[in-house]
Symmetry: C2
Subunit: 136 residues, 2 copies
Amino acid sequence: MERVPILKIGDILLVSIQVDMSDQTAVALQEDLAERIVATGCHGVIIDITALDIVDSFVGRMLSTIASISRVLDAETVVVGMRPAVAITLVELGLSLNGIRTALNVERGMELIAADREREYDEFDDSSDAEPTASP
Amino acid sequence: MERVPILKIGDILLVSIQVDMSDQTAVALQEDLAERIVATGCHGVIIDITALDIVDSFVGRMLSTIASISRVLDAETVVVGMRPAVAITLVELGLSLNGIRTALNVERGMELIAADREREYDEFDDSSDAEPTASP
């Protein structure tokens, strides 16, 4: 069985999907990714689909599942590199990739994750400023 | 024909090889990569081979050719993610991957390229300091 490699770059795990995903490959990728998020403490997952000519409902569901798993493990998922034709087909098929964020390329995906992260920290700071007496 | 995607991350082009390389795929990758180096002005190419179980003489030659083309275009090539078994087989086959630099993972490959780049700039500075009167 083919395994999709997961590359760590700073605070981000990068997955480039190039092979046709089977049930097994998809499950293996979900497991590997969850393990790597926990092992590395990364806060972002970028899934590159430049190589995919078609995103059908199976791949769409896989992306949603990966995004949900990552979210539970405190990591943000961004899908990048979608071709124009893929976007058109997705909409025609009525698949809206719910809960999945997209960016044009890896660099923009990284910026998106970094910006999100910063905002979260700011909010955390604000809330701890607001209730300084709440902690013992 | 499958095309291997090329991802731009800062000053680096990242290629993750996951499919079996045919003659056509290899030539297409070399052409795409050369074009992207020129178009982006990137100074580093990282080729990830985590997904490869075997690096035979064909793949070895392809990596060498890519490294040579990149060098002519002023970009450094680093091969990352080689499995232990692949390294052993390579040596047993008598393939030494001449002219190819390797690193354990993408992050180290990036550090290697950044360090090289810095040293080059330093040398350039030194030589221009040493001969200030050589220029008109």
